[in-house]
Symmetry: C2
Subunit: 145 residues, 2 copies
DNA sequence: GTACTTGCAAAGCTTTTGCGACATC
DNA sequence: GATGTCGCAAAAGCTTTGCAAGTAC
């Protein structure tokens, strides 16, 4: 079983365990999120799900997003200007690269345990999770000039 | 001359240098931002400025915020649920602690140069700046229980 | 005097909410 | 069959925009 299937099943289990209902729309949305590595917006999720469920509404997308966040199974990248982007590909906090020219978002493969550990020692805060975004020009945009 | 006065003058110089106009509202807003360490929202800035300029509007606050961001003299903390908070106290990127219980935001006194340096070496991105938020329970909320 | 800025109101966006109809358990 | 969920429309919040009047230069 591959990683995405694993994540899908894990989330389905949580839905059952919490007494929530397993609707076909939910499964479609979760499947889409788990398989996406491009950090979609709510509207992009909506457009994709609409192909199979023409009657779906954005409200349902947001309700499912909210459910997944409550399970800690979805990361939200918050942008004041163009709304949030979501990362359901991997549920554990990790840094992101954001291109200031083309707005592309990429997962940053950076070891963060030691950073968080050190901060937890220094801080008077008890760190639960983090959000880390690094902004710059991606290699593609740098080559185009 | 203290640090805040220094920052205020630095920003005033930038306004002049860029051919923008030095209005009394702008100075008041910048002064407020430079002296605040509590990461105010646009509305909190507005309420404070209104005391001296009763006719001020939120639009002017946002326009000044936009100007300062274009100068790289204002950090924006983006939250999808309750709008942005601003940090004009120090203009260089630094991490923040955010209490998940009382929503307090504090500057995190953490050395980040080495982290950014390492990422710049590893990454195919050319990092210009970052946003780093650490979420958890602050010491006050922990004691209250 | 020119052109940038202000303040007001309206518009724009994303996200949330209320509610009747429907589907899951 | 009970109740959680869906889909629609309307509402809510924050932020931006258009424009006439005012102000800095």
């Amino acid at each position: 079983m591959n990683t995405q299937e694993n994540r899908l099943n894990k989330i389905i289990d949580k839905i059952k365990k919490n007494g929530h209902r397993l609707t076909s729309q939910r499964i479609a949305i979760i499947k889409y999120l788990v398989e996406s590595s491009n950090h979609p917006s709510a509207d992009e999720i909506y457009s994709s799900i609409k192909k199979d469920y023409p009657a779906t509404s954005l409200a349902t997308i947001y309700k499912t997003i909210s459910l997944l966040k409550s399970y800690n199974e979805l990361l939200e990248l918050e942008f004041s200007d163009k709304g949030s982007r979501f990362d359901g590909f991997s549920s554990s906090p990790h840094p992101h690269f954001i291109c200031t020219r083309c707005s592309k978002i990429e997962d940053a493969e950076i070891e963060t345990d030691s950073i968080v550990k050190q901060i937890n020692e220094d801080a008077h805060f008890q760190i639960e999770y983090f959000k880390m975004n690094f902004y710059g020009i991606c290699s593609q945009c740098r080559n185009i000039k």
